[in-house]
């Protein structure tokens, strides 16, 4: 149980897909102009990465290593198509808002990376939790970026006004440059945080 928790946990902070590994940045910038878009995208990616890790892990002994990458791509593409069709049927507004970036989940480096690095070498349960952890880390990163951008750019979170009329929205935050600059500072902040945590651990003599 403890091992599974550790596998799950490392995706959230130590190996956060966006801030630490810097993989799959396109969606982190493109869909985070509002919190609700970030949440949907994060959930979609979390589902795809977990499902794909499971599929890859189940089939890891049948698939010839020479053709493994095409097999991964086919598996991801199938799962993404399912997500696309479901969203199109039940949440058409969000489907429109996410647009092309939903289809682009297929080529997210993080999904193929987890399949190659983890799921192809491990049993089904750890692979499932690895996918879940990575997906969670991705979701949280996306959501925090989305919330900050929406708050600063419109003064609202999830469309609900939070800051009063005194606040003059900084439109730049919901435009492309705002995304780049904010993520730059967030990456730096994350680096400082992890360095600080390591220093604390070192002082306690845990490493």
């Amino acid at each position: 149980m403890r091992e599974l928790w550790d596998i799950f946990k490392k995706g959230i902070i130590a190996e956060n897909p966006i801030f630490v590994l810097a993989l799959s940045l396109c969606p982190a910038l493109a869909v985070t102009s509002s919190a609700i878009n970030s949440l949907t995208m994060g959930l979609a990616v979390m589902f795809v990465i977990t499902a794909n890790n499971t599929v890859v892990s189940i089939t890891r002994k049948i698939v010839n290593p020479k053709v493994r990458v095409p097999v991964y791509i086919t598996s991801v593409a199938t799962i993404v198509t399912v997500v696309q069709l479901v969203l199109q049927a039940y949440l058409p507004v969000l489907y429109k808002a996410l647009g092309i970036y939903l289809a682009l989940i297929v080529v997210f480096a993080i999904i193929l990376a987890r399949a190659e690095v983890f799921a192809s070498k491990n049993k089904v349960t750890p692979s499932f939790f690895d996918g879940l952890g990575m997906g969670c880390g991705f979701l949280l990163a996306l959501l925090s970026i989305g919330v900050i951008r929406e708050l600063l750019g419109t003064g609202a979170i999830f469309g609900i006004k939070v800051l009063g009329s005194w606040y003059n929205p900084a439109l730049i935050m919901i435009l492309p440059p705002g995304a780049f600059i904010l993520i730059g500072y967030m990456v730096a902040g994350f680096k400082m945080l992890t360095e600080h945590m390591e220093k604390v651990k070192l002082e306690r003599g845990e490493i």
Partner: protein, 193 residues
Amino acid sequence: MGHYLTLLASNIVVNNFVLTRFLGLCIFFGVSKSLNASIGMGMAVTSVMTLSSMLAWVIYHFVLTPFHLQFLTTAVFVLLIASFVQLLEMIIKKHASTLYNMWGIYLLLIATNCIVFGVPLINVENNYSFLESTVAAVGAGLGFALAIVLMASLREKLRLADVPKALQGLGIAFILAGMLSLAFLGFSGMISV
């Protein structure tokens, strides 16, 4: 003629795929550390994207549409483009070794990449004709090349700058890209397609 020029210019500067639509960021940040590599990458992306966009258009209009298989677009395109790039790499390696030495190594990097996959998809969504979709892909590729070359030049200058420790590396690169994007934002509204 004017229509195609507008489309081309719009994809290069106004709707720059890297700086306003965030496609191809992984290679944009990964390769822009050196100017030479950026030029090679820009050329590789432009040519691959143009060819794969043409191929994708043909497959979409002559295979997927007649059989009503549009819902398979995502899966078909990604397999098509990934295998096409591999094939291209083999052909270039065998028949044009000078070209291969110039940018062959980048081909495998872009086999499954947002921008190479995204542009054909956007072209299909916009219902472009064959010629329009080719022009749009050339424009997108040139736009990418422009952005990555500008970024690489800026990052080479950055080596001499005194950057705070936490911001070094990826952090400052993002902020730089933000500034670049801000500059490109100035073009918005100049051309509407």
